[in-house]
């Protein structure tokens, strides 16, 4: 990859950024009220939001991380895709419609609906901020790896500058566009991404004579692992412990998706529960198609590029898809694929920034500090300031985590969401007796246990691929904590409720249940 290609890559990328910024600017002529800024005035249709939902969810982890994980580990990389598709059923059947009917802007609206407002909102905001930050750091690390490949930047300083630039652009999207602008970026990006992966897939299938078997055959010849890449166990099959790690990851993936704050917040951009349901149906279709394609792209990269070349490239595993594009379509296709991957990162990070800032401004500032009587203009101003702060934190974190597999980092965010949010959401929607104390116990129990286990896991220290490879304080053996922290959070919520505290507010519970299922009292139609 030479200088000339860099110019093409940068041009394609620059055009995308300018174009989307223009659209964001046009889409957001009025962003005055809190509802406009957080939920785009609930004006999107189910179809639009479904596409945006998949845009929000199909992150760099999905595109670069998964195709890379499949290209290197074969079967074991495939698990991510399956978990992420199946997980949407939880969102569809248990969460989406009830959330739309009971809340307004944030996850805290639902969790605090029938509880004491201030402590629960503060807890929900804490969970949102921690999860969003983890997720964002993963995306920023992906941006670093991608740019390393795209611009042939090998120095850590150069990559750090790139990460900073990505961070600044995404904060711009959020400040200028609010939810409406961000949603349009998601829609454009989702369409581009899906088109790109579909075309790549069709090309690959055609190249191997529409014979999946022939492609896999070729892939096994090009992989140092041989036939083993098609079977489970390459990455996680070595010991009993690594098998438990595999189960833990699988659990976090399937339970975390529908509890990610930025996914939950998307349901507020549609006018009612029916449209929320339609969003998930659309999103599920797009996911299923997308992840089927990444399977082909992953094995295609293994067959055509070869595992050794991928792991040796700058950006490592994450560079499988771009390398494949270069192999089959030269610099132009590489430029397009990289630009799409970049757009993906920008859009997802923008969505995350918006969620984090909304949670702070709406839950903490307006409801905890101002007791629910903040001027909406002030609230939006606070949200904008928070967006900038969150952006800075993400840039710093992204630089620190540069070089890690993005899908793996994102899986940690899923474990956090599955531990802190899912038990709390399910209990408050489906368990009558659940009370304020149970809510706080399950949010904080899940969040702290999960964060602590990550800190003391091999992901942070003690192995070659950790964030601090030279130190060793990893006394928790699993790299994904889900299998411990998720049940722990369910248990904490149960115990906190059963062991006392004030009894659940009957009237509010009735209101929440009726409103959740029917929308009565929500003002939605």
């Amino acid at each position: 990859m030479t200088g000339a290609n860099t110019a093409i890559n940068l041009t394609v990328f620059g055009v995308f950024v300018l174009l989307t910024l223009y659209i964001v600017y046009r889409a957001s002529t009025r962003n005055v009220s809190a509802s406009d800024y957080y939920a785009a005035g609930s004006s999107f249709t189910g179809t639009q939001n479904g596409i945006a939902l998949s845009g929000d969810f199909l992150s760099a982890a999905s595109f670069l991380g998964i195709s890379g994980a499949i290209a290197v580990n074969g079967y074991d990389g495939f698990l991510y895709s399956i978990g992420w598709v199946v997980a949407w059923l939880i969102g569809l059947m248990l969460i989406a419609e009830r959330l739309r009917n009971t809340g307004r802007f944030t996850m805290g609206d639902v969790m605090a609906f029938r509880m004491r407002q201030r402590p629960v909102r503060a807890a929900a905001a804490n969970a949102t901020l921690v999860i969003s930050l983890f997720y964002m750091i993963a995306q920023m690390a992906g941006a670093g790896g991608l740019m390393a490949l795209l611009l042939d930047v090998h120095s850590k300083v150069g990559q750090a500058i790139i990460i900073a630039v990505v961070g600044i652009v995404m904060v711009l999207y959020v400040l200028v566009g609010g939810m409406k602008g961000t949603t349009w970026v998601q829609i454009i990006k989702a369409v581009l991404l899906l088109l790109t992966v579909s075309l790549l897939t069709i090309f690959l299938i055609g190249k191997f004579g529409f014979d999946m078997s022939a492609m896999l055959d070729r892939a096994t010849q090009k992989s140092p692992l041989g036939e083993a890449v098609l079977s489970p166990g390459v990455k996680y099959g070595a010991t009993d412990l690594s098998k438990i790690d595999f189960l833990s990851l699988a659990l976090a993936l399937v339970l975390g998706t529908a509890a990610l704050p930025h996914v939950l917040m998307r349901f507020y951009t549609v006018p009612n529960a029916k449209e929320a349901r339609k969003s998930v149906v659309w999103a599920t279709w797009m996911m299923a198609i997308f992840y089927s394609c990444t399977l082909v792209i992953g094995f295609g990269a293994m067959a055509l590029v070869g595992t050794d070349k991928i792991t040796g490239a700058p950006g490592g595993e994450n560079s499988a898809a771009p390398l494949l594009a270069f192999q089959i379509g030269g610099t132009v296709l590489l430029g397009i694929v990289c630009a799409v991957a970049f757009a993906t990162i920008l859009a997802v990070v923008a969505g995350l920034t918006l969620t984090a800032s909304a949670s702070f401004a709406h839950d903490v500032y307006a409801n905890v500090i101002k007791h629910g009587e903040a001027d909406p203009r002030d609230e939006v101003r606070v949200a904008r300031i928070t967006a900038v702060c969150v952006g800075v934190l993400a840039i710093v974190g992204g630089i620190a985590a540069n070089g890690q597999n993005v899908a793996f980092l994102v899986a940690l965010a899923f474990a956090l969401a599955a531990s802190a949010n899912l038990p709390t959401l399910l209990y408050s929607l489906f368990w009558k007796r659940f009370n304020t104390r149970g809510t706080l116990w399950s949010i904080y129990g899940g969040l702290t246990s999960c964060v602590l286990l990550i800190v003391f896991s091999p992901a942070i220290s003690g192995s070659k691929s950790s964030v601090f490879p030279d130190a060793d304080f990893a006394f928790f053996p699993l790299s994904n904590p889900g299998i411990v922290s998720i049940p722990l959070s369910f248990l904490a919520g149960f115990l906190g409720t059963v062991l006392g505290g004030e009894p659940a507010d009957r009237e509010k519970q009735a209101e929440m249940e009726v409103r959740g299922l029917t929308g009565i009292g929500s003002g939605l139609r």
Partner: protein, 136 residues
């Protein structure tokens, strides 16, 4: 407590609850707000809940069991999962792909069930509190 969710604002002084009114108006409390407690125990709402549960409970258990089975087989029955089915395509890859297929099937089934069985029932329950919605 409701300040955070001001979609319908409660009047500062509640009105008078009158007990002489006909039965359906029990679903609207004296202050013109929907009486959620009464709606919750109404036959129409309980029927709605039963219909919801009848679908989502078995469907959720089914897809979770199928997913967990796939994960457990991958972890502990690698030999079985790598049995070739079509050329080099083995049982594990096929089962993984089938997870996508079943997800789509359940999604479409739920969308269809909601449209036919849930939405009409939601309308029925909403009709109970209709006058209130107009007041609000």
């Amino acid at each position: 407590m409701t300040k955070a969710l001001p979609s319908v604002s409660r009047p500062a002084t509640p009105g008078f609850a009158t007990f002489e009114e006909p039965r359906h108006s029990l679903l609207i409390a004296g202050d013109g707000e929907p009486d959620f407690g009464a709606i919750q125990t109404s036959e129409d709402f309980r029927a709605l809940k039963r219909r919801v549960t009848r679908f989502i409970l078995p469907a959720t258990l089914l897809f979770l069991a199928w997913y967990v089975a796939f994960v457990l087989l991958s972890a502990y029955a690698a030999g079985f999962m790598s049995t070739p089915l079509f050329g080099t395509v083995n049982v594990g890859l096929t089962m993984g792909f089938l997870q996508f297929v079943t997800t789509i099937i359940i999604t479409m089934a739920y969308a269809r069930y909601s449209k036919r069985k849930l939405d009409p029932q939601v309308e029925k329950v909403r009709a109970l509190a209709e006058t209130d919605e107009e007041l609000a």
